[in-house]
């Protein structure tokens, strides 16, 4: 099942939470949605599930609008606990069994056991991480075609975080789609094939992780003095950003790094080097370029 989001906009009064957001999420994949706090990730998820009504735009599941029956095929884990405090874990499983035709209680109990959660305990007696684990276990027992997971590893210990990532990858291998958000970029890099980055309600970057990493580089040039010009380089469409600090220039490129390096040499640079970016660097470039450049070069220099 694929999802197509077109020109989504959601505003709360004068505050625009999501603005002109368009995205296609392919089936049978793990899709990571990244963004700083308040970027609009959770609001986007809520609009996708009709938990919040979009101000404008359209969201289609396999070409059709969301309808109640779609929830048989879509599972959701919200970022905060929505469990009923007074109910036991077992009762939450029973609730899902009664609500969803394809829900597999045995699978749910198996996952709960893997997370070391006592099924007889009431939700109020569970820690934050355990509550997340319960919601994740129930969602993965749904046999849903799409899993929308809003920070599904929040509060989990490293072992269980890794377990959740494995579950996500396994779901994609089974032909289902997993869309998740996380602040832990390492996890996204490990699990996601596709990513999208949101900032202030807008989509600022998207693509497969491999493509983004292969294309994006930083080309750094050191000039003999400050009187150099980069007119030609700055106008190159492959140059996403140029930061100039006295005799040093750092150019973020989305392709053709070697050619840009040659251009810098041609412009008079004494020394030129090309730096690789990891997903965290790419994310930082998308949402906070100035911070990203400094951090990346400092990191590379120290190594």
């Amino acid at each position: 099942m694929s999802i197509k989001i077109s020109n989504l906009r959601k505003s709360y009064g004068k505050i625009v939470a999501v603005d002109d957001f368009s995205l296609e999420i392919p089936g049978a994949s793990v899709f990571g949605l990244l963004g700083p706090n308040g970027a609009g990730k959770t609001t986007t998820f809520k609009c996708m599930l009709d938990l919040a009504r979009s101000t404008s735009g359209e969201i289609l599941y396999d070409g059709k609008r969301l309808e109640p029956a779609t929830f048989e095929r879509v599972a959701y884990v919200p970022e905060r606990s929505v469990l009923y405090d007074w109910m036991t874990v077992e009762e939450h499983v029973e609730m899902s069994r009664r609500a969803y035709a394809k829900f597999d209680p045995a699978r749910a109990f198996e996952l709960l056991a893997a997370f070391n959660i006592d099924r007889k305990r009431r939700a109020r007696a569970l820690s934050k991480g355990m509550r997340t684990a319960v919601m994740v276990a129930i969602a993965f027992a749904r046999n849903a075609e799409i899993l929308i997971l809003d920070e599904p590893t929040s509060g989990l210990d490293p072992v269980n975080q890794r377990h959740v990532l494995s579950l996500m990858i396994n779901e994609a291998a089974k032909g289902n789609s997993v869309i998740f958000s996380s602040h832990q970029i390492g996890q996204v890099e490990r699990a996601a094939e596709h990513i999208a980055v949101m900032d202030r309600g807008r989509l600022v970057l998207q693509g497969t992780v491999d493509e983004l990493k292969a294309d994006r580089k930083i080309v750094e040039g050191i000039f003999p003095d400050v009187s150099f010009t980069l007119d030609g380089i700055a106008r190159d469409l492959r140059v996403a950003r140029t930061d100039r600090t006295e005799r040093i220039v750092r150019v973020l490129v989305t392709g053709g790094a070697e050619e840009i390096a040659s251009d810098l040499t041609g412009a008079g640079a004494m020394a030129v080097r090309v730096l690789d970016l990891n997903l965290e660097d790419i994310f930082l470039y998308a949402v906070s370029p100035a911070t990203a450049t400094t951090d990346i070069v400092a990191k590379e220099s120290s190594s």
Binding site: L49, F71, Y76, V82, E91, Y100
Partner: protein, 338 residues
């Protein structure tokens, strides 16, 4: 689909059942404690009879134990027919006092007291095993059902309070979900009424063989007794869904406001301010299902002053309240956002 609401209802009914069980246990204790005082023989032993009173004990062919008190000094003659568990029939013949009325017929529960004056003599007949009007049971059941309705009356607001992501991602429409929730609660409220009637009936059985009167006004009382808590529930359900962020306050203030409004409609409007307050309260009370309830009560002569036509209108209004307030709650629920 509405498993959570059924669990809430089940848990609340469990509490109601525990409280009623405690009540029944107390009734058993009371029954055991008073058993030795319940026979006419025990009464005789404890009565401070005049020295000239003659007491005669006989057993009738059907097993009835008869005790006759004859006090020639006071011209008083009492016949007590003790049918055991099946009740007592007591006839008191005594001189008429000035305060006594011509006739009176009063029933309270299973006890009926009929008094007739015949010149200088008054005869009082007391029967302790009459059919108990269902209206008594429904009045008791409604107290419990209204409490249950008040506790259950924020089902949709409780979902808004942190559980929308579960409630709204179920494979059913919002209308169907809300209807399911309301029906679950309605079933719980009716069940609370039923188990209350059963518990009180059992308590009565501990003391006498209780017969129930479902006829006439009692049938109306059953209908009104069932729909009233549902209408009250629907009112609170609509209010809590509209004011979902402060549903606790709505539930907390519901009874004080209803009682205050009802009381203000009764004030004597002898000046402009009082008239204004009365009129405002009266208008507000028209939206309150409780204000349309009039459980029949016997008048001075023991007859019920309750008209069928009036009852039909009131019952229709209660049904209308249930439907309209329920619809308002569902309408608001459809617009809820997480």
């Amino acid at each position: 689909m509405n498993y959570v609401e059924w669990l809430r209802v089940r848990n609340l009914l469990r509490v109601v059942a525990i409280i009623l069980t405690i009540l029944v246990v107390l009734a058993v204790v009371l029954r055991v404690s008073v058993s030795r005082y319940m026979s006419p023989e025990a009464w005789v032993a404890h009565l401070a009879l005049d020295p000239g009173t003659k007491v005669t004990r006989t057993t009738l062919p059907d097993g009835t134990k008869r005790i006759v008190f004859d006090d020639p000094d006071d011209s008083t003659h009492v016949v007590v027919d003790d049918h055991g568990y099946a009740g007592k029939h007591i006839v008191v013949t005594e001189p008429t006092s000035r305060a006594q009325k011509e006739h009176s017929d009063v029933s309270v529960g299973s006890v009926r007291v009929f008094e007739s004056r015949n010149g200088a003599t008054t005869t009082t007949v007391i029967d302790t095993n009459g059919a108990v009007p269902m209206i008594y049971y429904m009045a008791l059941a409604d107290i419990v059902a209204l409490i249950v309705a008040t506790i259950l009356a924020a089902p949709l607001a409780r979902e808004v309070d942190g559980h929308l992501e579960i409630a709204l991602t179920k494979p059913c429409s919002r209308v169907r979900y809300a209807l399911g929730v309301i029906l679950a609660d309605a079933a719980g409220i009716i069940a609370a009424s039923v188990i209350t009637v059963i518990a009180f009936y059992f308590c009565q059985l501990l003391f006498e063989s209780a017969r129930l009167d479902f006829s006439g006004i009692n049938a109306n009382a059953i209908a009104m007794g069932l729909i009233l808590p549902l209408a009250w529930y629907a009112l609170l359900c609509a209010a809590t869904t509209l004011l979902s962020r402060s549903y606790g306050a709505v539930l907390g203030f519901a009874w004080p406001v209803a009682i205050l409004t009802g009381a203000l409609t009764l004030i004597h409007a002898d000046n402009v301010v009082a008239l204004f307050v009365h009129d405002v309260a009266w208008v507000i009370s028209r939206f309150d299902p409780l204000s349309y309830v009039e459980f029949a009560s016997p008048n001075a002569t023991g007859t019920y002053n309750y008209t069928e036509a009036n009852f039909g209108l009131r019952l229709s209004i209660e049904v209308l309240f249930f439907v309209v307030y329920g619809a308002i709650a569902i309408w608001r629920w459809q617009r809820v956002e997480a």
